[in-house]
Amino acid sequence: MGVLDLLSRWPVLQQIRKGDLHAFGDTARSARSEMLQPRTATAGRVVRSVCPYCAVGCGQLVFVKDEKITDIEGDPDSPLSLGCLCPKGAATFQLVTGSHRVKTVLHRKPYGTEWEAVPLEWAMDRVARLVKKTRDETWEAKTPDGHVVNRTLGIAHLGGATLDNEENYLFKKLFSALGIIQVENQARI
């Protein structure tokens, strides 16, 4: 009986029934409020992570639901941060899920005026060929005064302070093997 049902849920009637003069509490509560719970409770999984901003290395908990991130907050178990985060760390959710993130590779032709979206594979191949070309053209086996240097000064790298150790390791390993020595990062700056 829809109408009766509706009436029975009418807070005023409950007020009268319970003799609740002010209706400050339960009688005023809606079904939604009744069911309310933290979204972390419904997350599929929690992944342990580290804040990507500064070098304090505060612990973070990443809550994932349906392969999407629903919340990122401090990890109370971390002896460094005990669950605290600074404003940047607290904004990590926006950093990793923000609509500012570009999701396709962009390419600007020489003398071009616009970016063009290009396939990842093509771009990787292109970069590899450019590296080879530049390396071969600028290879320096010996210095003018005859010292062995086997290197190229034609290619340089900047960056690493925000990368993982494993990533820096592969770069240093690869670039050293390629004879690229101008490898630098923010630590110098």
Partner: protein, 264 residues
């Protein structure tokens, strides 16, 4: 059981982690990218989309216990929030029952009920709750009602790096606050005091569930010195209305009778 915040402004470093942690958890929008020129405060005030707000007060007055080569100068930092008053103006004003007092003794606005009548906005003696025109509903700090239901502490208190914002059982917080105050007084900081810690300290609201430790007058932090939940003073208004309407009735009767009389 009653829970709340104790915000100790003497250890606040004004990092605004609370503001962002709150926005992140509640997924609130920014409320304007405006440079205000008010020290480092570009949020200006609490509002419908800003439930934690950090104030920055540059004072030409020294802070007890601190010495600086600048001479008479100090920088007061304070994270403000909804006070979740014992006598809450907004709660008592809300005609729809959208605002209620939760099982945690906090004051919560139900977004599915609020119809945006705007009466709570004028009834809050702290100017906390606000209606966002483009949304049409009234919003304010929920004390992370959803988190509390899940046994979690509110986002701002959790994030606060220096524990300037402390969350917990109200009685326990009050004890902690008194100890802290006592300690500060012992160290010569006579100006320190608790704001709204209990009914005695703030009869107008009968105490705040979110109270503060301050070192200058409330107005300096944009807080009222003696806020009162409007409904506490409703009686005289109703009484004088009663007299007035009776007067009106009398006038009506009088007008009719006199005219009839005159008609004879």
């Amino acid at each position: 059981m009653a829970v709340g915040f104790f915000t100790d402004t003497t250890i606040c470093i004004g990092c605004k982690a609370c503001e962002v942690a709150c926005k992140q958890w509640n997924q609130l929008p920014d409320d304007g990218l405006l440079f205000t020129g008010m020290s480092y405060d570009n949020t200006a005030s609490l509002g419908a989309s800003t439930w934690r707000h950090v104030s920055f007060i540059e004072r030409p007055v020294p802070l007890t216990g601190q010495e600086t080569g600048l001479g008479d100068f100090s920088w007061l930092l304070m994270s403000d929030v909804c006070k979740h008053c014992q006598r809450a103006g907004c709660l008592e004003a809300c005609p729809t029952g959208a605002i209620l007092r939760t099982e945690f003794d906090s004051v919560y606005v139900q977004p599915d009920i609020c119809n945006g009548c705007g009466y709570c906005v004028v009834s809050c003696p702290f100017g906390v709750i606000d209606r966002r025109e483009d949304d049409g509903r009234a919003w304010k700090c929920t004390l992370c009602y959803d988190r509390l239901k899940g046994g979690l502490e509110p986002a701002c208190a959790k994030a606060c790096p220096t524990d300037s914002i402390q969350f917990g059982d109200l009685d326990e917080l009050q004890d902690r606050a008194r100890d802290r105050l006592e300690r500060l007084h012992r160290h010569g900081m006579a100006e320190a005091y608790l704001y709204g810690a209990d009914a005695a300290g703030q009869p107008g609201t009968e105490g705040l569930n979110a109270f503060f430790l301050l070192v200058d007058r409330p107005e300096v932090y944009n807080l009222p010195s003696d806020p009162v939940a409007p409904a506490k003073k409703a009686a005289p208004a109703w009484t004088s209305m009663a007299f007035a309407v009776l007067g009106m009735a009398a006038a009506a009767v009088g007008a009719v009778l006199s005219a009839r009389g005159g008609g004879d």
